[in-house]
């Protein structure tokens, strides 16, 4: 007898979206200078959620000026214990409004409510809570007896974890005494605008946090602005490279958290059911829109068939659909452009001779969807083994010896994360030492904590976010 799932939708009524949002500058919502507006849509339905302003160079200039005033007049000189209390307030308000923010995030981003509710929101609150505690302890962080803020930080974040990435950026910046101008991603501005309300509820001094919405050009104006002392960017390696070039020769500080093509290495002695859960979590968490996703499965030849059989069985159980349904495992692709990119790279996988298998699942008629997919017979030369797909597509490769696993895992310009599955501790630690990646997960994957530094080697960027190490990018 088969018991089907009944729909279990989370209520949208906890979110009260306005039809239109301005920019958040100097503590208030203001209209953008130019006439342009952009629409943000629900990727699961293509329904327009709200209109938001498009900040041009003049708006960015206003925001940077507000941030500078706030830094000079209030925030930079405020005792750490007072900054701490503001950040604790923000953490508490994020916790109090967690359900509302989770639903807004799922609406705007397309991610399953289970993830926004159980991962994005608890972590975002935790990030503020953790860094609140650092604000009055900076002299104990190992950066000298009297570390100082940099000034105004210009921060540009991606659409995959909109509010969480905002927390990763704003919490440490504010804790260290910097003020910020943050540009959320073009397709996911809503939770950043709700966060602006939270700043108001916390009575955060005007200008400490400024939010400017817009497309890439807005981000470019922010990054290039002469009044910015530090740039923090999370996004693609291509844009990160551009920013590094733009900042060359200036005195601006830069941290970058860019793309990845993580190897998830499964040894024959791994606990296979646990490994399969980890593989699924590694690549299908957040529709694979994760820079540290375990997108290359390296499985030891002796267990290849066994692992693939278990993996396909497990993938067939994934529930793809309405992001607001509490049963949903895989939600919508964030945008039409991203869906086109995933389709294009998957087609390249077919064309280059890899074998595609997709989970048998019905996809909704409207919105942007891609079934969980894996490719076998992938070689290191294939585009799907080299380029970041940023979608629910897994490339499966094999190896025979640990040395071969290391060589293949490191054969990428990226170096953000890696996974190792084995019951043998010494092998895990040996692998961890060999892998050129900033985060190595052993017998787990995609776990994050505000106390744990995160960031990449090589072309996955530089700088670390999280914990004591995450303060470094905002202090001198």
């Amino acid at each position: 007898m088969v018991f089907d799932y009944a729909p279990a939708p989370e209520s949208r009524s906890v979110v009260d979206l306005r039809s239109s949002y301005g920019l958040f500058i100097d503590g208030a919502f203001v209209d953008a200078t130019g006439p342009d507006r952009m629409k943000t849509v629900n990727p699961a339905t293509e329904e327009v959620l709200a209109e938001v302003g498009v900040a041009d160079a003049a708006d960015v200039d206003r925001a940077v000026a507000a941030a500078r005033r706030a830094h000079t007049a209030v925030w930079g000189a405020m005792p750490g214990r007072e900054r701490a209390k503001y950040l604790y307030r923000i953490a508490r308000i994020v916790q109090e409004r967690a359900r509302e923010l989770a639903v807004a995030e799922s609406l705007d981003n397309g991610k399953p409510i289970r993830e926004s509710r159980d991962v994005d929101l608890p972590l975002a609150a935790a990030w503020f809570f953790h860094y609140a505690g650092w604000a009055d302890k900076l002299e104990h962080a190992g950066f000298g007896p009297d570390p100082q803020p940099l000034g105004v930080a210009g921060q540009v974040i991606p659409w995959n974890f909109p509010l969480l990435m905002l927390a990763w950026k704003i919490a440490p910046a504010l804790a260290c005494g910097n003020t910020v101008v943050l540009k959320p991603a073009e397709t996911t501005p809503l939770t950043a605008l709700l966060f602006a309300e939270i700043c108001q509820q916390a009575d955060l001094p005007p200008g400490v946090v400024n939010i400017v919405t817009g497309p890439g050009a807005t981000g470019q104006a922010l990054v290039e602005h002469a009044g910015v002392d530090k740039v923090a960017f999370t996004g693609s390696t291509a844009v990160g490279r551009q920013i590094a070039r733009t900042l060359a020769g200036t005195s601006k500080r830069l941290t970058l958290e860019l793309g990845g093509k993580a190897a998830n290495v499964v040894f024959e002695d791994a606990p296979l059911d646990q490994a399969v859960e980890g593989i699924v979590n590694g690549i299908f968490f957040n529709q694979g829109h994760v820079c540290c996703a375990g997108s290359r499965l390296l499985v030891q030849e002796s267990v290849h068939d066994d692992v693939l059989e278990r993996l396909k069985r497990r993938m067939a159980e994934l529930r793809v659909g309405d992001p607001l349904d509490k049963n949903t495992d895989v939600g919508a692709i964030n945008s039409a452009a991203q869906l086109a990119r995933i389709r294009e790279l998957s087609a390249a996988g077919d064309a280059e001779g890899a074998e595609r298998w997709s989970a048998p699942c019905a996809l909704p008629d409207h919105g942007f969807w891609f079934a969980p997919t894996l490719f076998t017979g992938v070689t290191q030369a294939h585009r799907i083994a080299r380029e970041e797909i940023f979608g629910p597509v897994l490339s499966v490769l094999t190896f025979r010896t640990p040395a071969e696993a290391v060589a293949k895992a490191n054969n990428t310009p990226y170096g953000l994360s890696a996974g190792v599955w084995s019951e043998k501790g010494s092998r895990i630690l040996w692998m961890a030492a060999q892998l050129r990646a900033g985060v190595v997960w052993a017998n787990t994957f995609n776990v994050f904590d505000p106390a744990s530094p995160f960031g990449g080697y090589k072309e996955s960027g530089y700088g670390r976010e999280g914990g004591r190490h995450g303060l470094e990018g905002y202090l001198r």
Partner: protein, 301 residues
Amino acid sequence: MTADRPGDRLTVRKTFKLYIGGAFPRSESGRSFVVRDAEGRFWANAAQASRKDARDAVVAARTAQPGWAARAPYLRGQVLYRVAEVLEGRKAQFAAEVGRGEGLAAPRAEEVVDAAIDRWVWYAGWADKVGQVLGGANPVAGPYFNLSTPEPTGVVAVVAPQESSLLGLVSVVAPVVATGNTVVVIASERVPLPAVTLAEVLATSDVPGGVVNLLTGRVAEIAPWLASHLDVDALDLTGAGGADSDEPTGQLAGELEAAAAENLKRVRRPPVVPEDWTADPGMDRLRWTLEIKTVWHPVGV
């Protein structure tokens, strides 16, 4: 404080009791002692804790310790931050009691209470940072993963400062519990009542019963039983002798330290010069109740 004036409503006075295992018992000995305010007027009768009360408090602290230490540091930080939130809401009461007990004018008493709340927040924030600041990987000369991590020593007995009844108390208790220890604290003998009120705050926030246990009474009577108790792991003598006590010779503190040697308790001696409780405390009081555990694991295919 509202006086019991004719024509006014008569105030309901509070019975000041001990705080053990999350409950507020009177002393099992049935004794109480007179607490006077800074001007020498009768204020209340407080419970005078006995040897048995001290031993009960140690049992409660020991029982609570593994669970408290097992909570994620982040959660411990949140629980302790919640204490600060509740403290803030009862600021007026604390300011009145601290003012009356320590003889401080209202503005000064309020400053002291503000500092105590901020101190609590400061230590709450340490809960999930101590490990990263005091621990770390050790670069040993061999194929080993070698990692040192601080862990709580266990049950800590504290003789609270005698003069600073709230700020001093918070400054000695919060760092001990922030890292996962549990505590048995003897309140200031002369000004014990703000400590009892603090216990009420702890009881109504999210701190599990037994994490902080409070005794009021005579230091010279109770402290020796804690100093010689074999299920106590560390002993803070801040208020037991020397500069922050009523017994400046330090003879009692010396005897307590000697008794503590039996099971090699970690002992924090009384300060030589009076502590400035408003100063930045640094990490000192976090460190002394931590053990460092080092794990070795081979590295190799």
